[in-house]
Symmetry: C2
Amino acid sequence: MKDFYFINQTKILFGTGKITSLIDELPNYGGPILLVYGKNSIKKNGTYQVIVNSIKELGFDFSELSGVPSNPTLNIVREGINLAKKNKIQTVISVGGGSAIDAAKAIAAGSLVDHDVWDFFNSDKRPKVALPIIAVPTVAASGSEINGGTVITNQDTKEKIGIGSPCLNPKVAILDPYLTLSLPMDYTIYGIVDMFSHVFEPYFNGEVISLEIQDNLAEALMLSIINISKQFLVDPQNVENRADLLWASTLSFYPLLFVGRGKITFEVHIIAHAIGGLYNIPHGAAIAVIIPAWVKLKGKKDEMFLKKAARFSQKCFKNENINDTSDGNDIFELITRWFSQLGLPTSLKVFDVDKSECDSILLNIDRSQKGLLKNRLSDNDLEIIVRNLF
Amino acid sequence: MKDFYFINQTKILFGTGKITSLIDELPNYGGPILLVYGKNSIKKNGTYQVIVNSIKELGFDFSELSGVPSNPTLNIVREGINLAKKNKIQTVISVGGGSAIDAAKAIAAGSLVDHDVWDFFNSDKRPKVALPIIAVPTVAASGSEINGGTVITNQDTKEKIGIGSPCLNPKVAILDPYLTLSLPMDYTIYGIVDMFSHVFEPYFNGEVISLEIQDNLAEALMLSIINISKQFLVDPQNVENRADLLWASTLSFYPLLFVGRGKITFEVHIIAHAIGGLYNIPHGAAIAVIIPAWVKLKGKKDEMFLKKAARFSQKCFKNENINDTSDGNDIFELITRWFSQLGLPTSLKVFDVDKSECDSILLNIDRSQKGLLKNRLSDNDLEIIVRNLF
């Protein structure tokens, strides 16, 4: 096990109807308040009204930033920062998917500095302070509500870059499964793939491959996600099942589960970010197309991967017909069969991105994710993966 | 899943040699400092000198409270509180097993109030503030370094009572596997049983019996502990293995793993506390004698237990020759076989406590743990368990 340092100060409030606890939490941080959200769906299910009523009842001033897109842009972050500075915002509430929470984090850090917020993403500069954030996820997917990471897309340069800092950890995460009920089937399933990938990547892509406790815990969580996803297909409106999904998503990116693995290279995510910077494809959908291509590549050349893949197949897919070492095809088939049950896309073509875009994607990986893949995936590996996305 | 609230602000520093980081952490909390520890073993392995040198280099005054016994007493806590008040202590460093850390917590809370510290244990009053604590466990067992619980024995009334408060969470936990290397075989094994029981009890004794994610994670952690214990027997001085044990013990009592189960009744621990209040038996050893007796009782009468026991046997002991419902004997045999491999005692007689003490034990359960077992174990159940401890 590698040395590690861990701290996570986010307070979690979990339960159906917990959004009503916002009124108890807000006075700890104060106003004026900036409310960051995405689409108008929070108005339809009443969440918006509960939040606004709570703010008004406490007598705080507030501003709104709506329309955060699903790959949150630098533009909307800059707009939020201007609002925050102008209105002397003290607390940021973000309601929505990972995009709304990620945007809120960048705004919370950017509004306390004089330089442009993008400096945090394209240089070594990292946020040291940020406004307090209260995160209310309405999508079970990113786990952004429980960690200090944020991923922002620069719409001009097509770079989609992730950074992290402990000061970006939300002070409070309100996990209210009821708020996720209205999310459509396809986006819920994209969320399932996203949370799965947050465990799958450290499991396969850590500097230390094999760790007794961490491997067992990761397998337990991946098995849980697979089981819950199947229950979800049978009964999508079951709130107990949605509660499980929401809790799984939060745990999946809870940093405690990665510790001791040393450096983790999120190879699949890095490719997904390069694609997300170019095309407006839902993050989880991109992940769903990349994972099988990535598994196929690893299965052809990586001995360590094949050993672990055998264990993964046994523990997460209860596949007993597997040897001590995978042949690469078995894990590929188990994953693609599960993805196919979930009705996930198998090609970027579904999102009107054609095979002729391969070179643009490869170029954007090279340009925007430069250095992150060092010693992990060669240019040739990347080319094989990207050509398999169609 | 039941609603829950979770926050854990302890900073974890993990790695061999991490005790040297104390010098970087101390200035955040300041002096004068109270150093709480148990036996002189920390002087033998050099830990004491590293700590004292760090304190002196920073120029802080410090006092010492040594000789904390393995079931920490109210007497030693009161002595620590007097010292802390007299010397205007600002930070408490505790080095040792769960006993030293539990004593430090009671001192940290008791030195900020005017009333007697025992009021926190025998009334509804709970600590609201406490001095900052830096915990340095030298035994992989209690998990006290990562939570807000403390268990103190009143040597006069023979009550051993546990309480919890978020303010008792250590600010920093320094997990340095090297410091656990000198712990003798028998105490290391008592620690293994203790950490196992911290996962085993919520798994079987939560208000909500069956939870997809939480059950899978608990099984993963129990399986890890069983596996590591077997590796430990083969190579007790392997520091990687000690690192696994230390990390497992911390995770085992990390409150995040219990959430969503509603009220958890630590039935085995409650009985162990009543015994620990009467006789100076190592906590983990008492747990090792009680678990089989408890399993035997449950196996005879509790349908829910038998269902879950079957799953437990499959997942944690890889026993495939088990049906959907356990017959009670299977789980009993798996656990006792493992305990026997570890060389654990099977009777309290080993500690010079005779069967004639049954009534005293039952009386002390009734007196000191009154109410905690409500609707869980009847007087008759308790009598059956206690008679089986010999």
